[in-house]
Symmetry: C2
Subunit: 670 residues, 2 copies
C-alpha cells in the first residue's frame, strides 16, 4: 500500500513532446513557445484542474501555467523559453472540488431541485478556502479573502435559496475559487521532462566549409588563417553564417599521407588535417603553416563583423607524433609487441592515426582532457563545433562532455559528423548534439527524399534530431553529382537549402561544381583537398555563387524555411519532378518548391496543391512568385502545370501570394 | 562524471514489447514464448554480445538467453513463461573482444598480412579468460579450462604463424571463448521490464452471463443458486467456459427500484442486484432468496465438473442499508445536513446507492476491506471477477489491489467493466486488468469494426489491453439489435466470437433474441432482468443455442481464434460485407470469416485474398470449408465471389484448406 497519496485520484500520463520517457531532452530554440500535451483524468465525473510547471534547470521554484482541456482527456499548455540552456517541465493535477460542485449546482437549479443542502456544501468548500487563505496571510490576498468570506456567508445564509438565480449568474465566485481553492490530494507527474534550448542558430544555419590552406589568392603559396580572413567578405556576401574549418592543428609527420591518399607523402606534401598532432602540439595548437593564435583570434573577431562565426572541427584521434602519445601512453591501446595500436578496418591500416582507448583505466583523465579541448577553443571565442566521427567514441562520454560544456556555455553548438547506422545517429542527437549530418547525400530519388524528409520532420525523431543537409563533403562526392554535373549541383543545392532549416556547402568545390572522382565508382574527389593544397578561381563562369546568395536571402526572409515543421509533399505526375512546401503555422507564409531531378531533360507535369491547407480560395486565382527567376505566374484551382529545364535552372522556389481586394475594388497580390 | 561505468560502451534502448517505458507490465499467458526486441550498439566497429535476462519476480537469479542480431542494431530473443504471475526481463550487453579479434584475424589472414602480433593479442585474450575461469574454479569447468590453456599455448607459440590456416578453420576456440570470456565493462539496461502472465483463460475465454433469479424452471417462483446449478449442462453444452453471475448479495430495501427502474418498488419486487447490502449482510453475504453459502460452494464445485468456472460481479457501492454504512460511516461522504451523499449524475439521483468516498482519511482501512472482499470469494473458489464500473474508483487503488491479490493468487482473472473514455479504459488495462469490455457494442459498420479491431490488435494497445467483445449486456441493447432482430443477433454473435479471443453473451436474452427496448431511443431492455424476475423458454424456436455451440466448438478447435495476433481484413466491394481472417504465425491454420451486416437483404461481392500471406499457390485451387454450414467451395486465385443471405445465416466461417498431393497422385484437401 502506498505510504501516502492514497487519496490522490488524478492520473497524468502520455506526455509529449518527450524523448524515451524523459530520459533525454526535447530540443527547442530560444524564443520558442514549447507546446505541451498530456493525458490527465481521474476516476468518476469530477471536474479536474492542472498546471504545467516549468523552469530553467537548477532554479528552485517552478513557474506555472494552467492546463487547458481539449477532447478525450487531452490537456494542453505552452511555455516560453527565452534563454539557452537546460529547461524542464512537469505537471500537477487535482480534483477541482469547487468547480465540480458548481457544475452540478447549476444543473440542479436548472432542474428546479431543492438545493438547500447543496448551498451548504458550497459554503463548506468556500469556508475551507478561506481558512487556507488565512494561513497564507499576505496583504495581497486580503481583498480576495474578504470577498470569499462574504460568499461563505451568502451561501450559508438560511435565506440563500431565494437568491439562487443570482448566485448562479455570478462569475466572481468561480474565478475566486479557481485562484485560491487548495489543491487537495494533488498528483505530481512521476517524471520531470528535460528540454535542451539552443540559441536560434542551433535550428537555423547555413554552413560553409573551406580548407584554410586552399584560401591563398597567391598560387605560389598555401593559404593561411589571414587568407581565410580575406575570404570572409566572399563567404558573407553569399549569406552563410557559419564558416567551418577542417582541423587547424599541427599535422603529424609519421606515416603522413600524400596526394590522393598515397601511402607515402612527398617532402612538400602537407598531409591530412585529420592526422592531428606533431612536435608543435596537439588539439589546442595551431599548425604553424596556417598562422598564429593571434591570427586565429583576429579571424574569429573579423567573422563576427560579418555576422558569421567560425566553427572548428574536433577530431579526437592522434597522429603518432601527437604529444599525448608520449605524455599519456595509457590513453592508447598497446599491442603485445609494445607498439601502439593504429587505426584499422582490416585489412585496411591507417598507420597515421592512433585511436584513443576509451577503455583505459585512466578514462577519467582522458575524458577531462577531451572536454578541455573544447573549453580551450571556447575561451578563444569558438561557439560552434563540428565533431568528427563522434560515433567512434563512447556514447556515455558524449552525454557527460556535452552536458559539462553546456552547463557553463549554453550557447555552444555541436554538429555530429556521424555517417553510420540510423539508431547510432539518433542516439547522438538524443545525447545533446545540436545538429546532425544525415543521409541526404545518398537520398536522390523523389521517393527517397520524400520518405526521408517525412521521417526527419514528421515523426518523433524531430524531437531530438536536427538535420543539417550537405550535398557534398570533402569525403563524399556522390555519383549523382559526378554524373549530373552542374544541373545536379543546382538541384541538390536548392533541395538542401529549402528542405531543412540547416544546411551546409563544402566550398569552393561546390560552387565551382567539382565533380571528378579519384576513380570510377569512388565517392572520393580526385586530388582531394584533404591531401593537397588548391587554389580556386572564384570568378570562374558557371559558379553557383549567385544561386547560393539568392537561396540564403530567401531563407533569411522567410521564417517558414527556418524551421522544419509544416513540410508537405505534393503529388505531381512525373517521377523526375519533386514538389513540396513549407509554411508557417497559420499558412500566412507559404514557400512552394519544385525541383527537376533529371540533369539532362526538361521535365513537366501537373502538380496538385492542397488549397484548403494553404488557405486558398478555390474560386480565386493566386500568384506563384518565383523568388529565383523573379517570374510571376497566375494559377487557378488545385491542379497546375510545371515545366523545368535542367540547363537554365532546374528549380522554382515560389512564394504563394493570395489575392487581396483593396478599397477601390482593385485586386492585387499581397 | 559517472562514478563508474565510464568504460562501458554498449548502449541498450528501444525495448519492446513494453508499456510506458516499463512503468506497466506487458501481458502474456502461460505457455507463451515472449518475443523481445531491443536496440543494442556501441561506438566503433567491435563485435557485440548480449543476453536477455528474465525471471519470475522475486527470484534472486536471472536466467539468460543470448541476444541474436537482426538488421540495423536490432537484437532479438525470447523466453518461455510457464507459470502465472509477475515476470520481468532486462538485458546486458558488452563488447565481445575475442569475437572482434577473431573477425579481424580472419580478414588479415585472408589478406595475407603479417599476423604475428595478432596471434599474441589473441593469446592475451585467451589468457585473461583462463585466469577468469581459474578464479571461478568448479570442476565442471575443468575440461574447458584445459582446452583454453592449450589454445593459449598454441597462439603464443613462436611457430604459430605456420598454423594460421588451421587456427582459422577451428570453430572450437570461438565457441569456448563465447562461453567463458569475461563480460568486461558490460552495460546493464537501465530498466527492468515487467510482464504479467495470466493463465490461458485470461487470453481465451467464452463468457455466459445470467441472472440466478431468472434461472427457475418453475414459473411460480424465482430462481436460486441451485437452479443455476441445474442450468450448468445447458451452458456447458454450448461450450462456454465462464459463467458470470450479477451480484448475488443481499439487495438493499431503502429506495429499492421497481420494474423498469421505477422509482418505488412494489412489495414483491426483488430490486436491482447492484444495490448491494442489507440487514442480511454486504459484499461477502449471499442473498437469502438465492440460497446459502453451501449452495454456492456446490455450484462452484459443479461448474468445475463442466470445465467451467463461476465469475462473480464485484460492484463496490452500497445500498443505504449495507452494514458498512453503520459500521464505517467515514467511508462515505457526509452532507452538511448529516445525511450520506447518495450517487448522483445531476439532475439524476440514485438514492438507492451510496458511493464509497475514496478521499476518506480512513482510506487504508477502506482499501483493505475492499481487497478482502475479493479474498473472501477467492477462498470460496472464485477465480474470475467481473468488476463493475472500475473507472469510478481511483486508479491507484486498483494498481495496489490487483497486485496484492495476484501476489498470493496469480491465477485470478479480472474483467474491467468500464464503458468510458478510451484513455481511462486503457489505464485500467495497464494497471493489471486481465480483460476489458470494449466499444464493440457500438461499432457496427464495416469501417468502424475494421478500424477498432486493428487498433486493439495491431497497435501498442495489444500489449496491455485484452478485449472481451459483448454484443449486448443487461445495460446495453444496441439499436442495431433492436432494429435488425435475429439476423443481426446472428451476425454480431459471429463477429464477437471470431474477432477476438474472448467474448461474452448475456443470456438467455441473447440466444432468444430479446430486442425490445424500454422505450424508443433507449438502450435499456423492456422489463429488464435488472429489476424483475424472468422465466425463459430455452427451447423456443429460433434460439441461437446451436449457433453458439458451433462457434464455441470452432474456437476450441482452432488455435488462431484463441489469440489476437495475425488478424487481417480483406477488401470486398460491398460495404455491407465484412471479411477478415485470423491465422497462425506460420499460416498453417487460417480461419476466414465473412459476415453480412445487412439484416434485410442478401448481399454479394468479390473478395480479394492475400494468397502470399496465406501461403497459397496462385496456380492451385484451394478449398473454403464453411465450418458453420459444412459446405465446401473450391476457389481459385485471389478474387472470389461471396453471397450471404441474412435470413439463413449471415456468415461464413471458413477453414481454408490447401491441396495436398498424395502418393497415388490423387489430390485432396488436408
Amino acid at each position: 500500500m502506498p505510504a501516502e497519496n492514497g487519496q490522490s485520484r488524478v492520473v497524468i500520463e502520455g506526455v509529449r513532446p518527450q524523448v524515451d520517457g524523459g530520459r533525454f531532452a526535447v530540443k527547442q530554440t530560444v524564443g520558442d513557445l514549447v507546446q505541451v500535451q498530456v493525458d490527465m483524468f481521474a476516476d468518476g465525473h469530477d471536474v479536474l484542474a492542472g498546471v504545467l510547471m516549468y523552469r530553467k534547470s537548477g532554479e528552485s521554484t517552478w513557474q506555472e501555467t494552467p492546463l487547458i482541456p481539449d477532447v478525450n482527456d487531452l490537456w494542453e499548455a505552452s511555455f516560453p523559453v527565452d534563454t539557452p540552456g537546460n529547461w524542464e517541465f512537469t505537471f500537477t493535477g487535482w480534483i477541482d472540488r469547487f468547480a465540480s460542485w458548481h457544475r452540478d449546482f447549476l444543473k440542479r437549479v436548472a432542474a428546479e431541485q431543492d438545493v438547500r443542502v447543496d448551498l451548504l456544501t458550497g459554503a463548506e468548500l468556500v469556508s475551507e478556502t478561506v481558512e487556507h487563505l488565512r494561513e497564507q496571510a499576505g496583504s495581497s490576498l486580503e481583498q480576495d479573502l474578504e470577498r470569499l468570506a462574504d460568499w461563505q456567508r451568502r451561501l450559508s445564509d438560511s435565506n440563500a435559496t431565494s437568491h439562487v438565480t443570482r448566485i448562479c449568474a455570478d462569475t466572481g465566485l468561480p474565478r475566486l475559487m479557481a485562484r485560491h481553492c487548495p489543491r487537495e490530494f494533488a498528483t505530481r507527474c512521476e517524471t520531470i521532462y528535460p528540454v535542451q534550448v539552443d540559441r536560434e542558430r542551433g535550428r537555423f544555419s547555413a554552413w560553409y566549409e573551406m580548407f584554410p590552406r586552399s584560401a591563398s589568392p597567391d598560387p605560389s603559396r598555401p593559404g593561411t588563417l589571414r587568407d581565410v580572413q580575406a575570404r570572409l567578405p566572399y563567404v558573407a556576401s553569399m549569406g552563410f553564417d557559419v564558416l567551418y574549418l577542417p582541423p587547424i592543428h599541427p599535422i603529424g609527420r609519421q606515416f603522413r599521407k600524400g596526394p590522393n591518399n598515397a601511402e607515402k607523402a612527398g617532402p612538400g606534401d602537407p598531409g591530412s588535417p585529420w592526422a592531428i598532432g606533431a612536435a608543435e602540439g596537439g588539439h589546442t595548437a595551431i599548425a604553424p603553416e596556417l598562422g598564429t593564435l593571434a591570427d586565429f583570434r583576429q579571424l574569429v573577431q573579423a567573422a563576427r563583423g560579418y555576422d558569421m562565426e567560425i566553427a572548428l572541427d574536433i577530431a579526437f584521434q592522434c597522429a603518432p607524433d601527437h604529444p599525448w602519445v608520449r605524455q599519456h601512453p595509457q590513453w592508447f591501446r598497446a599491442r603485445p609487441d609494445g607498439t601502439i595500436q593504429y587505426a584499422e578496418n582490416p585489412p585496411k591500416k591507417y598507420q597515421d592515426i592512433y585511436p584513443l582507448n576509451f577503455e583505459t583505466d585512466d578514462w577519467q583523465a582522458l575524458w577531462n582532457a577531451l572536454r578541455d579541448v573544447f573549453l580551450y577553443w571556447i575561451r578563444e571565442g569558438v561557439k560552434v563545433f563540428r565533431v568528427d566521427n563522434p560515433h567512434t567514441k563512447p556514447f556515455p562520454f558524449w552525454e557527460w562532455c556535452l552536458a559539462e560544456i553546456r552547463r557553463e556555455h549554453p550557447d555552444v553548438l555541436f554538429l555530429a559528423e556521424a555517417f553510420t547506422r540510423p539508431k547510432i545517429m539518433h542516439r547522438l542527437g538524443k545525447l545533446g548534439y545540436s545538429q546532425s549530418y544525415t543521409y541526404f547525400t545518398w537520398r536522390n530519388t523523389k521517393e527517397e527524399l520524400t520518405e526521408y524528409l517525412e521521417e526527419l520532420t514528421q515523426t518523433d525523431v524531430a524531437n531530438f534530431y536536427r538535420p543539417n543537409f550537405w550535398p557534398s563533403t570533402p569525403d563524399i562526392l556522390h555519383a549523382e553529382l559526378q554524373l549530373g554535373g552542374r544541373p545536379t549541383f543546382m538541384a541538390r543545392l536548392v533541395l538542401a537549402a529549402t528542405m531543412t532549416a540547416s544546411y551546409g556547402i563544402y566550398g569552393p568545390p561546390y560552387e565551382l561544381c567539382w565533380n571528378t572522382p579519384v576513380k570510377e565508382g569512388s565517392e572520393e574527389f580526385l586530388n582531394s583537398e584533404k591531401y593537397q593544397v588548391h587554389h580556386h578561381d572564384l570568378d570562374q563562369p558557371g559558379s553557383l555563387r549567385s544561386l547560393m546568395t539568392q537561396l540564403n536571402t530567401i531563407r533569411k526572409e522567410h521564417q517558414c524555411l527556418q524551421r522544419n515543421e509544416f513540410v508537405q509533399f505534393h503529388p505531381i505526375d512525373n517521377d523526375q519532378l519533386i514538389c513540396y512546401s513549407k509554411r508557417s503555422a497559420d499558412a500566412a507564409e507559404i514557400i512552394f518548391v519544385a525541383v527537376n531531378l533529371d540533369p539532362v531533360h526538361t521535365q513537366s507535369g501537373f502538380v496538385e496543391l492542397p488549397l484548403e491547407d494553404f488557405d486558398l480560395d478555390p474560386q480565386q486565382s493566386y500568384q506563384m512568385h518565383d523568388l529565383l527567376s523573379g517570374a510571376r505566374y497566375v494559377w487557378n484551382g488545385p491542379r497546375n502545370y510545371i515545366e523545368l529545364s535542367p540547363e537554365v535552372l532546374p528549380a522554382h522556389v515560389f512564394r504563394i501570394r493570395r489575392q487581396v481586394r483593396t478599397e477601390r475594388d482593385f485586386e492585387y497580390y499581397e
